[in-house]
């Protein structure tokens, strides 16, 4: 089928302001949006810039706005969009660099702020083997281990758009992953960080994050569980 791909363009060395380029492409209904971008680069304009790597939704490189909604270009197919007009734009709320590439550093800085690593200074089991964890304890935080840090959630969040210092859903998801891990011992420290001004209380439960997540993580629920833990002084 023939479709129109409208691509946000900005070259920082040449352009004063962004513009859109329009490409007419011959595509299959099952093509990924990423395939369309690859087609543009191979056949129309090799200078188009965007990040991508795994091309099947696990590396988190190619989150962007597709027809106005955040998603991974490699996980949204042409037929999912139900339209022959497709517009791709960079994520909102992060500094624009070039075309579809934004500066991810502010996003990763928020991730790093929640101590996103296991903390447990107790002695390891004497036999040197694994720490034990029941299947139920493991299930408690399974959902939030799926995060690929693509930023689709955080950059869809109205609270984040209004306040770029808000830690945002992705950082909270990654705090959740450790707070509810029975092996971890830094839950209280993380909860303290999340209780501060830029923490979970800025979440207004808009559910944009949950809708945007390409990994189907129940993000709003994870945030609510953190809020509950703070209110009940328990983890």
């Amino acid at each position: 089928m023939e479709l129109q791909l409208k691509v946000f363009r900005f070259h920082p060395e040449k352009d004063l302001r962004p513009h859109y380029d329009l490409f007419s492409l011959e595509a299959e209904a099952t093509d990924r949006v990423l395939d369309l971008l690859e087609m543009v680069r191979a056949e129309h304009d090799p200078t188009l810039a965007y990040r991508r790597s795994c091309a099947h939704g696990v590396c988190g490189s190619d989150a962007m706005r597709i027809n106005g909604k955040n998603g991974l270009a490699c996980k949204i197919l042409v037929h999912d969009l139900r339209s022959r007009q497709i517009t791709v734009e960079p994520l909102l709320g992060l500094p624009l660099i070039k075309d579809l590439i934004v500066d991810m550093e502010p996003f990763f800085a928020h991730y790093r702020a929640v101590l996103p690593y296991l903390v447990n200074d107790e002695p390891l089991p004497e036999d040197g083997r694994e720490r034990l964890q029941s299947p139920a304890e493991r299930d408690r935080f399974d959902d939030t281990t799926k995060c690929i840090l693509c930023a689709a959630c955080t950059t869809s969040c109205p609270s984040f758009w209004a306040n770029r210092l808000y830690l945002g859903p992705a950082a909270i998801v990654n705090a959740h992953r450790f707070i509810f891990d029975s092996r971890d011992r830094a839950g209280a420290r993380r909860l303290k960080i999340l209780a501060e001004r830029q923490g979970v209380w800025l979440c207004r439960t808009a559910f944009n994050c949950t809708e945007a997540c390409p990994r189907d993580i129940h993000i709003t629920q994870a945030i609510a569980e953190i809020k509950n833990a703070l209110l009940n002084h328990s983890i």
Partner: protein
């Protein structure tokens, strides 16, 4: 403008191998990690089914069994001292990962859960053994995240989105690398006592591949351009179950959990090719069987794909026929919920890309280019080897998929890529740091960036008569058609000739984007050059090897020939020619035998 940095150890690549090396090296030395991708985008994250280690959590197992299975899987081309080292160390490496915080799935008694995987057996019964330690079907994702998290905790320094261009060797000692900062096009020289390459594979030279776009062999190409050899490049693994046309990986764990491969006549054809372990035979064996089925017209509807059937009824029917039991001795029977809960990402891929629910419909699959057994030759400490007599190049290391220790020989066993990167990442990191502690910093050669700059300049100076995208497309199609699951002298000769032509045409491309900010046109052109060089080596080494062994299957030489070919190839790129040499395989406990499953 060139920026120069100095560290004890510079690690190139931030997948599992690079991060493991960084974590361990940083205990002793001053370390920086230079990576083309942000670490969390690395391809380790795409690994699904598990990491093999003889923990014996669910049934009897021994690292020696793992070693024998790996030797046999390698079709006896793996170096047995290295394989024994890897399988023994794998057990501790998995515990290390758990202690780092990796959220493994758990058994009912709270231990790390383990599942069956292709080629992993109880050596007494020959039946599949539960050895693959897993975190659902995102084990690689969890390894990558856990290691990166520990690097953050330990304050490791990262240079993200830097493409390696060159390795600096002066007076027979490595003294650094040259890299391009992608965001700015600034050239950086990293002056170091030791360099560890962990740059991953090069599967993007094949049309159908499970590999990330980033997999363009940047490290191996940089090394061979400096006159160092690449080892066993003719061996590249085709994973049996890639999603039809897309190549996206469907983990072997689907078969580990009871899924079955089916041809157009509804037959479980693996019974014919591997009577004992059937669908869980080694990947090379299964991929060849699939190819033969399709060639005989038994692809689905006569087309080039087969079905992977993981519907509960099918799983239970064949589990009953096989007499499969659970660890407690009860018959193995599954519900849709149970099987889907063990492979949630696979369910998601099938729904997203195929509109198929694997609990209700079978999955269309075809073999997909997956893993480089060959690469930069090393010893078990990751030290790079430069000739047939195993002479070491001081200061240069390689680990993970870009390296060839060789633990995978002619065919890697499923799960062993993760074992490889964790075990050798750790030991190369420790060794390089120890080396750096005692070694002096070798001075940089004059104008260390000149070779890289000269190559970059030529990409901007071509006459523009050729297009990089077109050359890339031709390359992928040639390699898939003639250097795939089966090869022939005629096809390989044709590819070698075509590659000579493509490499010549490559000199005529011209990068149009003159900008410095994320000049991805320049980056892609560079990566294409890497793939062309490595494809050329692959095809020449494959043409020379007149036998069938592991993933290298010659229609015209259908048998393994231990008399002439029980040896590793070494290939040197010398201008437009390739020189081949060979070195012996290390045999310790397992003399070569006929390989049946």
């Amino acid at each position: 403008m060139v920026e120069t940095h100095t560290y004890d150890v510079v690690i190139v690549g931030a997948g599992g191998a690079g991060l493991m090396a960084a974590l361990n090296a940083s205990q002793i030395a001053n370390v920086a990690v230079v990576s083309k991708l942000h670490p969390m985008r690395s391809h380790t994250g795409a690994a699904q089914g598990g990491i093999g280690a003889a923990l014996g959590n669910l049934e009897e197992d021994h690292w020696e069994w793992h070693a024998y299975d790996s030797v046999k899987g390698s079709d006896y081309l793996g170096d047995q001292d290295a394989i024994e080292f890897m399988c023994r160390e794998a057990v501790q490496a998995v515990y290390d990962l758990e202690h780092y915080g990796l959220p493994f799935s758990r058994s009912t008694d709270g231990r790390i859960a383990q599942r069956p995987f292709g080629g992993h057996t109880n050596n007494q019964t020959g039946k599949p053994v539960r050895r693959s330690c897993y975190a659902a079907d995102r084990t690689g994702h969890m390894i990558l995240q856990t290691l990166y998290q520990q690097c953050l905790k330990n304050g490791i320094l990262f240079y993200d989105e830097f493409l390696v261009l060159d390795v600096l060797v002066d007076g027979g000692t490595c003294c650094g690398i040259v890299a391009l900062e992608l965001a700015t096009s600034v050239i950086h020289v990293f002056h170091a006592k030791a360099v560890i390459f962990a740059t991953g594979g090069h599967g993007r030279m094949w049309e159908i591949t499970s590999n990330a776009y980033a997999y363009t062999g940047d490290g191996v190409a940089a090394v061979v351009r400096r006159g160092l050899p690449a080892e066993d490049m003719e061996f590249f693994q085709f994973h049996p179950t890639g999603i039809y046309k897309l190549g996206i990986l469907i983990t072997e764990a689907v078969r580990g959990e009871g899924g079955i491969l089916i041809n157009d006549q509804g037959q479980r054809f693996m019974e014919k090719y591997a009577p004992r372990i059937k669908d869980l035979a080694s990947r090379d064996v299964v991929s060849r069987a699939m190819y033969l089925e399709m060639k005989a017209g038994r692809g689905i509807g006569g087309q080039n794909y087969l079905l992977l059937d993981a519907r509960p009824d099918t799983v239970n029917r064949y589990a009953e026929a096989d007499g499969r039991t659970r660890p407690d001795g009860t018959p193995y029977r599954v519900t849709a919920e149970e099987i889907l809960s063990k492979i949630p990402d696979i369910v998601d891929f099938c729904r997203t890309y195929l509109g198929v629910d694997p609990a209700v419909q079978p999955i269309p699959v075809q073999p997909t280019a997956h893993y480089a057994m060959g690469g930069i030759p090393t010893d078990i400490y990751g030290r790079v080897i430069v000739d047939e007599s195993n002479r070491v190049l001081p200061g240069l290391y390689a680990v993970g998929e870009c390296a060839c220790v060789s633990v995978h020989g002619a065919n890697r066993l499923g799960t062993n890529s993760l074992v490889d990167l964790v075990v050798f990442g750790k030991h190369a990191g420790l060794h390089a740091a120890g080396y750096a502690r005692d070694a002096d910093l070798v001075p940089l050669p004059p104008q260390p960036e000149s070779f890289a700059l000269q190559q970059l300049a030529s990409l901007r100076a071509g006459d523009g008569a050729e297009q990089a995208a077109r050359i890339g497309k031709e390359l992928r199609s040639l390699m898939f058609d003639h250097v795939g699951v089966f090869r022939t002298a005629e096809g390989l000769r044709q590819v070698v000739g075509a590659l000579e032509d493509l490499r010549e045409r490559y000199h005529h491309i011209r990068v149009q984007d003159t900008g410095t900010t994320f000049n991805q046109e320049l980056q892609s052109a560079w990566e294409l050059g890497n793939l062309l060089d490595l494809a050329y080596i692959t095809a020449v080494a494959a043409e020379a090897r007149t036998e069938s062994r592991g993933a290298h299957a010659r229609e015209d030489f259908p048998h393994r020939d231990d008399v002439h070919w029980l040896k590793h190839s070494l290939a040197w790129l010398e201008g437009d020619a390739i020189r081949l040499g060979y070195k012996p395989v290390v045999i310790t406990s397992y003399p070569p035998r006929e390989r049946t499953y």
